[in-house]
């Protein structure tokens, strides 16, 4: 396990280095002055500019400049947004939790819907229900997110009036910002309308979360179907059957556990996909997350925000990736055994 951990950590460090190198070079590639792209201070006076040049060591060679850039990032200084002139780190801290919340809920939905459906398809392998599930998954995977989002608003918000179409919670509720994850903040708040607010927030997250969840859910269907088929064909299942265990015992005790392990490995990978989808969805549902902010920054040519936003977002995805790797390794001893070579 130690070697495994060390390996992941070194991978993390090198990937992060590559990412910061990319975002560092973006400052040179974007139009405008490099130091202004770094800091986002478009209205800097001459003395302020001189100070910035010194802070980012612009007069020294590229390696030093990169070092200065890294030290700024490690101190949590991502510069300030060119559009709003407020520190980017503060904006990210406000917005990232909303995205995490949406992505996690969507991931949960995708797994809760996708994995059981995949298992059912595998158990009914090559029967009608298998075909139906597979074709549904294919259709679901092919639907573009933005179109689905607009359709969902049209149907569920406008025509049926069941669910709200915009924002994280009705503006009537005043929820103090603590963690940024709305549900936790609601539970922490001392508002007399806690449960109303909780219900309202739940209603707000339903549409965007399902829209985000659709594509990953279809992938989970296919993954879990394949994993289950493989497990069901394994010899220990045949042995269990020969021992006289009944169907549900075989499935719940032996097959599901072993199939799940194969799926968990892909959760991290799917998470990256999911965050990308979430960015588009945030725009459609006016979700106050980092994706919408990043897309607005692109519209406004806010280079500092684009650069730092990308860095933070990719770093976040990578951390999730590694975490799932750890969970996988904890659950599956075989993965830890890689050190012997395979």
């Amino acid at each position: 396990m130690l070697t495994f951990t060390l390996r992941r950590i070194s991978l993390f460090i090198f990937t992060m280095l590559a990412l910061t190198l990319l975002s560092f070079s973006l400052s040179f590639l974007f139009p405008g002055d490099t130091v202004i792209n770094h800091s986002g201070q478009i209205n800097a006076t001459v003395t302020e500019l001189a100070k910035l040049n010194e802070a980012y060591q612009m007069d020294k060679n590229l390696l030093n400049q990169y070092g200065a850039y890294l030290s700024h990032i490690f101190n949590g200084d991502f510069g300030q947004s060119m559009a709003s002139q407020s520190p980017i780190s503060a904006e990210i801290i406000k917005l990232l939790p909303a995205t995490i919340e949406l992505s996690l809920v969507a991931l949960l939905i995708a797994m809760l819907v996708g994995i059981p459906l995949g298992f059912i398809a595998a158990i009914k392998h090559q029967k009608t229900s298998d075909n139906i599930i597979l074709s549904l998954a294919m259709i679901g995977y092919s639907i573009p997110t933005f179109w689905l989002g607009l359709l969902a608003i049209l149907l569920f918000s406008i025509n049926l009036g069941w669910l709200p179409s915009a924002g994280q919670i009705s503006l009537l509720f005043e929820i103090e910002f603590v963690t940024g994850i709305q549900f936790i903040d609601i539970l922490l708040s001392d508002s007399p309308y806690k449960w109303q607010a909780f219900r309202n927030a739940s209603a707000h997250i339903v549409l965007p979360a399902f829209v985000v969840a659709l594509a990953p859910a279809t992938i989970f269907i296919r993954l879990s179907r394949a994993a289950m088929i493989e497990v069901l064909a394994a010899s220990y299942i045949r042995a269990a059957r020969a021992k006289g265990l009944n169907f549900s015992q075989i499935i719940f005790r032996h097959a599901i556990r072993n199939a799940l392990i194969k799926i968990i490995r892909h959760v991290g990978l799917q998470f990256a996909n999911l965050v990308t989808i979430a960015m588009v969805t945030e725009v459609i549902f006016s979700w106050p997350g980092i994706g919408r902010w990043l897309i607005e920054s692109i519209y406004q040519r806010d280079y500092t925000a684009i650069q730092s936003g990308l860095l933070v977002l990719s770093c976040f995805i990578f951390i999730v990736h590694i975490l799932t790797d750890f969970i996988y390794a904890a659950l599956n001893p075989l993965a830890r055994g890689n050190k012997h070579g395979s």
Binding site: S157, G161, A166, L171, L172, E174, Y193, Q196
Partner: protein
Amino acid sequence: MSFKLLLSLLAVLLASLLGGCEDSGKLTLSQRSIIYCSEGSPQSFNPQLSTSGTTSDATSKLLYNTLIVFKGENNILAPSIAKSWHVTHDGKKITFYLRKDVQFHQTAYFTPTRTLNADDVLFSFNRVLDPEHPFHLVSGGDYPFFQGVKFAQLVEKVEKINDYTVRFILKRNDSSFLANLATDYAVILSAEYAEKLLEANTPNEIDISPIGTGPFYIKDYRVGSLIRYYRHEFYWQEKAKIEQLVYDISPSKTSRLTKLLARECDVSSYPIAHKKIAERSDLHLESVTSLNVGYLGFNTQKAPFNNKLVRQAISLAINKQAIIATVYQSQAAYAKSILPASSWAYDKNTPELGYDPARAKSLLEVAGYPEGFQMDIWAMPVPRPYNPNAVTMAKLIQADLKKIGVTVKVVSYEWSTFLRRLSLGEHQSFLLGWSADHPDPDNFFTSILSCSDSKVASNRTFWCHKEYDQLIKKALETSNINKRKQYYARAMHIIYEEAPLLAIAHSKRFQARSTEVEGKILSNFGGVSFHQVAKALAYDKSAKQAAQLNKVNE
């Protein structure tokens, strides 16, 4: 085991989500609050500083009170903070007797120690009048409404007689003075709060975190996103019926429509897709004819429009009905003259230059242009309430004028350039309009066509007619309503004869609301008000049905 636990947990969650387990005895938060989808952020929280409609919508009637107000159908002046007032015979001294029970807002940033008195009134007006006043230059020192009506040139001084009596001394009699005090802009601020801010060296806060006496106070403002108001519990009149008011700032027209249809806002300003809203039984579309006018003006200093026959001919050749149907989508009143028909000074017998291309052609021949001529029309680049699409309007006029042999070139500049070059008189004719600040007819006659305004402010026809000017001046000097009516009728007749401009339409202002929301929000002029607005109880079926019936009746 764990699987079952998960299932039951999910079931509980679903039940709590979908279940309608409201306490039917108690009003829910949403029944005690209203969300208003507004079209933009206010420029300031002090309406003295801005004449934009968005700003007065978000401030005037919510946060503040004025000394006097307009009341009823005929917009008669009525007491507000001033419980009565007295005007001397020469009309130069106006004394206001203030109420003694007017409380200021108590908020997180300010706790008032006294009720409103003469000092607050003095402070509010001296800030505008006195260039030496410590607050005059705070937030820019521009008071567009007061500058427009030349307030500083009119008012000699404002005196405090005692704690609850204030006297305005004017340099001359002006019958629109009281009307000006009743507009959305003449609000009363807190002198005590200003003093406190001055001590703390943060005078700018007075327009950012406002303190007033109105039915609501500001709880929270997030730029470009929302304004949260709470009810002022110690309001001197009957307190507002709703406890919380939220302005959801949604500049996009489609997002306002979506939020309205999805019932995420109860009231929406300037809605689109009128048909769709009218189809819905739970929504209600309403409109008021605003006190405004959209017109085609002629540069009377330039050939060929220095000839009144040509102006008349062009006026006769334009089909206004077609313009109203196309540009205003029939949502405007046909304009016979610059004054809307709802004004008390409107004279029904005023003749107009109606659509008559044949007569137009013969007039052009008399004027010496049998072959027609070339002209340009300057069309405003931005939609305004009085003219939602000037370029389309210009093109319609172009087609109309082609029939009498006049070739039109449509010109448009970016808005501020447009206004600047217009003031330089580079144009031949132009499409523009006027939104009234108060219902006094003078606001139309003086601002659009008077001689003094032709030099400095808003008269872009550069038309200067001695008799007309004397008439509107006389009308201001008397307070006899019948006499004023006569003067204005004569003035309207002169406009008809001289045709310095062609009034086209008085547009309507639209608003959509859920049928649950009751009470008057819109008025013919000025900002929206939520003081008398309430929500019908969702459980009260009869109220809902009544609302439905009302809708059918309309």
